[in-house]
Symmetry: D2
Subunit: 368 residues, 4 copies
């Protein structure tokens, strides 16, 4: 596969030392509606705001923000932000991406409040990545239980990116210093998705195969499973349960407990808790068979089609949505729940082994 | 409706004083497989067993058993057992049902181990009801945390019966001393289901509209939501996740947290926790609109079709399956997820208000 | 013991049919401070209020209130209120207590808002009991998860009364229709405490041996253990952790998870979850040895002395505090943690068997 | 303080790159009793065992073991093991400690099963530290929910060491590449304890001021608070509740939920869950006032004296217990719960502000 003409070269410049994913900037088309969703419903904390931007953080965060909502004409993801270890790592980011021929913009006073000396790039996969070290510190609200809602969001956990060619994306992220912790493949060697990390959790970002570049979701971590369920219960009470797209459930991949929501612009948000330590250099990579119906939900509950097909546009450095390139490899939805797809509960099971109550679910795909 | 010719008469004999639903007897076609499911997977406690029967109980129970698995040729429910307050209430049960012209069988030494002086009847709705007071006491394992599995089942909570004419069934159960706590109706006055109680929880049994008489499910209560999730996780680890039919989720009706499983014969088992006190004489009845998509799942997750259509046969006093009579009223599935059905998240919403990720789900019905 | 001259006679009048403990009226000396504690800190719901009274309820309650805070000169309990099954049961309460020669006051318009036709009595043990049936219904907030705090209080669960002679009190409560579910005794036959119920939980009230009549505590039920812990965390965040008197922990008696708080006047409030079904007529009574150090805390954590010695005064029908009569039987504190007391973890253990880390704790008593 | 004559020099050799604390070797005097405690009661997984050693691991671990129980004549800690990033880091450890003049022993085939090329040193503080990279991989049981007990232990989280001079120890650990995340001080500048990390949690080890070198405890992480409580409940059911020394509770320092147990030899084990991310280079250090009674328990529950005074001996490389040197700085117990100590709930509170129910507790110290 290294011979594919479009393999992204490995720069001679060392990559920046990425500490963790730290923030996402989302363009939203109705700032008041989005603020209501993230603040009044999900309970994120407003660090500061003005007429066009709301800066939000989680309850364990001491950095200025984890999420920026910015009013704009087209819903999209404007920046996937990573914190780097030192000021010099911002220089390294510049050199790394310039060597790759990417557009690079650096601002000494940052692109958002609370951040200084940041660089934004249009990466070779088409995503707007941002790197910075200098940040404004704010109160860490971890001990402020008087403020915690029942579904308290503690940390930004990860991003998830849709990209047509997952192995190509993985190799590039490895050049940037990320490591694969888990992936989904089939017997023919097609890779459907890969989870990649800098911090020692399952991921800082994942590469999901599909038409891209697009943002699949941004994920916030909470403490316990009941916190996730509290968000569902709250949405029900607010008659907003149709914000729930998928879950709650237990992932196979990552072993985490999850819930997927859709915000007022359709941006997907995951609530996530309890994956595992991956920080050892020889951390075992877990590879899942795409036909294992416990890979994406350990309980075998099917993935809804929209989860496979819908995602958010991403912007270039001019704020223009990036064109979306179609995936040419097999799609995970087609091979699992489509007319010709199948999934098994036990390796070796025939498709007919699914009980009556599961057959309807796993044949959803061909009816779309 | 009182004028319907088939209204079940109200006996002049007073009904027995039913304390609670206490046990279910299931005929299973492979006793070893069923024992594995209920004991090794779900963790119910074996009180005693022989070659044809296994007597199981929950961890808070002090009565001999809550579930009898009996080997037989056809999977079916053989007895819905209720405990009555005094020995005299068994006499009352005999008189009550004899006045109704039902078949009645009484055995001084009981129909099962651990029980004496029991009466079994073929009730006017076609269900095999059993009433007894005298029971053998066994150790209540509530404090035996050394034995509790992560998904500990604490109590038998309720039965759920499928019957074609819900209002007719409700009136009869009211004659037996039960009271409605919640129901599902539509604007035209059709009743789709009703929950009825003796003990002060939401129900000892529910009447679900459909082809009957059949057993919809038997439910066991656990303590906390994480206990329910532990059962899902365990089924995943055992590669038995296809035993999960629906859930986990939060019910609208009852406000309880739930999970539906199917046993090796397809008998449906619910795991249930945290409904509410209903013991006041003027407890407010909650009526749900059949089109409210939060009525059966507070989070708006759709009910799988099998949950509406599949159920277990019930036996008559000779052990012969009762013939199933078709429901003639509208079916809940048809009016909510069928071709002409619809559900809303907010009262007043048009069917088109469902977001893309929900439309696929709620259009399942017509594709069956 | 039936020969004791002060045995309370059993009236010929039938007792009222008590459904459940339903409300407590507390006199508080600083209404604003108490309102802050119960509403802003514990999250109880204000049904209505005026300058001298605040009417509060839990999230599952449909009756007007579970707790009345009334401004007054001396902190005390003014009424232990029970709901009775029918209007006629109020008549029965009047006859029952009048036959006992008790002071009885009945008001057609109730003693508090939200209640009509109530009777208050000064019972033979010196407690101000209230009985009513007619109540104003209010919204049951069980489904209003948008309002639930992390430590949501769902129901009033029980009262706990301090009285010098527990067996005498038990016999009287049995006359009133209550049944013992658990008690604490010693080998010599002294009874230290007894738990008594009408509703099918471990208790509607308990009799704790000590100088009385006094109110030991009023208890509210929540759903899960993490809800109890959330209250602790919140008190810590508010720098009000010194409101925590004892716990959290698991009771031996009742098997419930508990926490004891003290309100601004020192009234004791328990947060409680998950006891067990006691509604069968032959529910097994559990008797604990007073020397079993797991009886009051299943984990063997010692009871703080104040929990044994401090309690709230109760008022007579004129609003005057009842004189407190000393207990003459052995005190539970003295026989367990006092200079001559001892407790064991395993029956048969010598006092010396306590490990070093427990010895300091269980010798607290003699140092007071 | 840098002028103190006994400051440990900073080696010119770079320290090894420590990934995380990974294992503890405990000498136990009754291997069967210890195996019962850790395996049958706490549920750790046996990787392998022979007549003198049991190798145990947690459910998320893929390295051979996290705990070694070795039969021996005197209960003690034999090795605090850290995993290093590369084989070369073992060389670095050798050079680092040899430059410090410490005893150093390296074994190509490891000191225990499952490990190769390990070095053990007698560090300048007197502790037996071990460093290795090469390990045998075993099955990660994170997804094996069929094996998880209710109180599942997921990871080794940290060690805690008792040492007389905390600042001296901190400086040395900083030389080894650790960073302080939290500490406890007083206004006069005395440091009572410090938490230090390599992995991005609150600690891999902590330095607790006291007579040392001794092992204060080893801590295992679980997922949720109810898992911790399940261990308490289980100990109660087994009539082993006297193994509980302190807790459960919420720490102020670390914000984690905790429980302290004592094993059959008195070795202290903590069960721990949910501290926070500390991996940013500028992670804010949290300093607690020693008089803040929420620092060690956020709910203000007092620390039992044994927790301050008792700890395990540590062995030198010959297997001989290290002599214990007395702390000369003030002891945390003396200044907080002793005759002259005091603790406050709110900064500025006078000692008299403690309510009656807390006074007994916080005056424990002088009565020892």
């Amino acid at each position: 596969m290294d011979a594919t003409p479009d393999r992204i070269p490995t720069p001679a410049s060392p990559p920046p030392d990425v500490v963790r994913c730290v923030a996402m900037e989302l363009v939203v088309t109705d700032l008041a509606a989005s603020r209501h969703f993230y603040v009044d419903v999900l309970g994120l904390v407003v660090t500061e705001e003005d007429e066009t931007c709301v800066y939000l953080r989680t309850y364990e965060e001491f950095v200025h923000h984890n999420l920026v909502l910015r009013q704009g004409p087209v819903a999209a993801a404007a920046a996937f932000s990573f914190r780097v270890r030192s000021p010099q790592d911002v220089d390294r980011a510049v050199a790394f991406y310039e060597e790759l021929g990417c557009r690079v913009a650096r601002r000494a006073d940052g692109f958002t409040r609370g951040v200084r000396d940041a660089v934004r790039v249009q990466d070779p996969l088409g995503f707007p990545y941002e790197f910075f070290h200098e940040v404004e510190h704010v109160e860490r609200l971890a001990w402020r239980y008087d403020l915690h809602p029942p579904g308290v969001l503690a940390r930004l956990d990860h991003f998830n990116q849709v990209t047509p060619d997952v192995p190509r994306a993985v190799r590039h992220l490895e050049d940037l210093g990320f490591r694969v912790t888990e992936d989904i493949q089939d017997a023919a060697g097609t890779t459907y998705a890969a989870w990649m990390r800098r911090k020692p959790t399952v991921h800082d970002t994942a590469m999901t195969g599909g038409d891209g570049p697009r943002l699949h979701h941004v994920a916030f971590a909470t403490y316990e499973k009941h916190n996730v369920l509290a968000i569902c219960d709250r949405l029900g009470a607010l008659r907003m349960s149709d914000r729930i797209e998928r879950g709650p459930g237990r992932h196979g991949v990552s072993n985490a407990f999850y819930l997927y929501l859709r915000d007022p612009d359709g941006h997907r948000v995951e609530i996530y808790t309890q994956d595992y330590w991956t920080g050892d250099p020889d951390n075992p990579v877990v590879t899942w068979d795409v036909h294992d119906n416990q890979r994406r939900d350990w309980w075998g509950n099917p993935v809804v089609p929209s989860w496979y097909t819908e995602a958010s546009l991403v912007l270039d450095l001019d704020g223009v949505p990036q064109p979306v390139v179609a995936r040419t490899d097999s799609s995970e939805m087609a091979v699992t729940i489509g007319a010709d797809g199948f999934s098994y509960t036990r390796p070796g099971d025939a498709p007919e082994a699914l009980p009556s109550w599961k057959q309807g679910e796993y044949k959803l795909g061909h009816q779309l």
